[in-house]
């Protein structure tokens, strides 16, 4: 770790706290959390490849950057419209630019009773107790996560979604995170809280996009609690620019009979790290931790996941599939931890990657720590080229090589995209896969 990489963050932190301009700076719990965050980040620094959990993702390119804190942007973005996955007419859309909520670009529609969508900064005013009770409380095992602490030090805004007991939000809520930097490199650290109350149901779609030439660092932390009997569908597309660094640390607790259903598609970014930590802490808690990635050029995407089966009778299925072109690189490290008395755990993990060029590379590290004896756990991983026989079969029918290849990759990835339960969203994600493939290098 180089000290110099930490220095700018340190100076910025001092400047921000001295100015007293951070939202909620009068709240002791928040100031303490920020202070602890900065101290711990100082101690840990950016992880080097010697840190086991960062063995395959090198942060040198990130450390070389000097990021300026993103300030509220008032200038026009030069965008005609905000990109959307659910359509402009539909549902509820919250827009964040460089981590700050933009009410004037958002259209939250009429949310059903019991559902609240706010920005973190708004919630500090309107519901300070909710945040005091939940922020940094849902997370667990975060002590060794430097980006988590960096987020604590700098958190200013983010999404707060609170679905009260029994409330059902039929239409998906889309949250657009726009990374916009043209002149200088910008960093921001959004902090999100999602509480799905008892027996509630909601669908949240995160849509990360970018404009501009300069580097951005989006360092998200999300805390989620899915309360007994609730269903939360959480889908994410990361389509930021090739100049973007994207780190997303997520802590989710899934309680009795609750269902946490997630899917993450990464097509963009220079370097993306998704690090979800899902704890199944009530019996019959169920989770899907699925994802897909498409990377080319020098893009790098790291999905490092942890699933904890803490009590008996919990279930999780995890499937990650991807395709790499050019010098695209991917990491999949999936840890499955079954506690000693978590009998009848059902946990499956699968990682499959297509290497479309001989310079593409994937590092896979499945890790099963099973301390109970009556469990059904499986994991599998494959990595390889496209199969020759189907490719020849398609070509022998007149389908040109690039199209045949696209069809095969598409069908390979469709298998995991199918896991998205909402049909329109499933199609929207499939379209993104098709888009990426039609922009193929070869």
């Amino acid at each position: 770790m180089s000290e110099s990489a930490l220095q700018p963050f340190h100076e910025q932190y001092t400047a921000l706290t001295n100015a007293g301009s951070l939202p909620g700076s009068a709240l002791p719990w928040l100031s303490n959390l920020r202070e602890r965050g900065m101290t711990r980040f100082d101690e840990l620094g950016f992880p080097t490849p010697r840190v086991e959990k960062w063995k395959y993702t090198n942060l040198r390119a990130l450390e070389r950057q000097v990021f300026h804190p993103a300030t509220t942007m008032t200038a026009s973005l030069g965008l005609d419209r905000v990109p959307t996955l659910i359509g402009e007419q539909a549902g509820h859309r919250a827009v964040f630019v460089n981590g700050r909520f933009r009410a004037e670009m958002s259209s939250l529609g009429r949310l059903p009773k019991g559902a609240k969508v706010m920005s973190f900064a708004q919630a500090l005013e309107a519901e300070p107790n909710l945040l005091a009770e939940e922020i940094d409380q849902i997370a667990e095992g975060q002590d060794e996560q430097p980006f988590y602490h960096l987020n604590c030090a700098f958190m200013q805004d983010g999404l707060v979604l609170h679905v009260e007991e029994g409330a059902k939000i039929e239409e998906p809520i889309e949250v657009v995170y726009l990374a916009a930097a043209d002149d200088e490199s910008l960093a921001y650290h959004p902090r999100h809280l999602i509480v799905a109350g008892k027996n509630s149901e909601a669908t949240l779609v995160e849509h990360h996009v970018g404009i501009g030439e300069a580097n951005t660092l989006a360092n998200h932390v999300t805390e989620i609690r899915v309360e007994p009997g609730a269903k939360l569908h959480h889908y994410k597309l990361n389509a930021e620019t090739d100049a973007a660094f994207h780190v997303s640390t997520l802590h989710a607790r899934v309680q009795e009979n609750a269902f946490y259903d997630s899917f993450t598609l990464t097509t963009g970014g220079q370097l993306s790290r998704n690090e979800p930590h899902v704890k199944l802490e009530g019996s019959f808690a169920d989770a899907r931790l699925n994802g897909a990635y498409l990377q080319r050029g020098k893009q790098h995407c790291d999905n490092t996941t942890l699933i904890e089966h803490a009590v008996p009778d919990t279930h999780c299925r995890e499937i990650f599939k991807g395709a790499l072109e050019g010098k695209g690189r991917a990491v999949f490290a999936g840890k499955l931890h079954v506690y000693p008395d978590a009998q009848r755990t059902d946990g499956n993990q699968l990682s499959r990657c297509l290497l479309l060029s001989n310079q593409a590379e994937i590092d896979t590290k499945p890790e099963l720590e099973i301390y109970a004896d009556d469990v059904v756990c499986s994991h599998g991983c494959t990595a390889g080229e496209l199969e020759k026989d189907p490719l020849f079969y398609l070509r022998s029918r007149g389908i040109p090589f690039p199209v045949a290849r696209r069809m095969m990759v598409e069908s390979f990835l469709a298998e995991v995209v199918q896991e998205i339960t909402t049909e329109d969203l499933r199609q929207a994600f499939l379209d993104r896969v098709t888009d990426w493939l039609s922009r193929s290098e070869q």
Binding site: R395, R397, G398
Partner: protein, 252 residues
Amino acid sequence: MAMLEIKDLRAEIEGTEILKGLNLSMDPGEVHAIMGPNGSGKSTLAHVLTGRDGYEVTGGDALFQGQSILEMEPEERAAVGLFLAFQYPVEIPGVTMTTFLKEAVNSIRKARGEDELDAMKFTKQLRERCKLLNIPEDMMRRSVNTGFSGGEKKRAEVLQMAALEPKLAVLDETDSGLDIDALKTVADGVNRLRSPERSMLVITHYQRLLNYIVPDHVHVMVKGQIVKSGGKDLAHELEAEGYAQFGEEKAA
């Protein structure tokens, strides 16, 4: 001009020579049958003609309507009018028959400078062809060959041939695995495609198929060469006597 002219063709797989100087000439509108013992190189010939990886052509040439095809990509060969009904059709999970056929038909049309078929026209044509070959339409919504029975796979190959309307079709053991009724249906389908402009090379082990698809010429292939050619009666002769006369031992 001949539809296909194979001149002294030699090809090897991983250093082993399989085709050892093969000669064959077919005129437009003709149906030729190739018979021969297992392992004599019949499928190898079909694969070399359609451009499958893994074969090295070490000598000779194959001319399609006067033009050498050995340097062409598989999709280019399809575009000029070459078609292979595979001995072992490949399963492609996740790609539906409809998507696959539409892509294939339109790729070939595009390569020939023709307009692509719109969805309605395509669906109509596909429906008609399914009917002809006694293929239930909902099979078109399933993934390519995936979970198809042996006979269904073979019928699907002939359906593809009907959809792509090639000039030269190579049918590699399209009769094996078919029940008696299916054999008739498939043969009818093939016969319907016979025309003065279209040639067919039918690889088979059984004379029975040739009762339905009556060939103009029959060739015997042994150890990578055509060792005898004749009319349709040659097939009966082979059925009765086997390949011993060509130096092949009878299976024990």
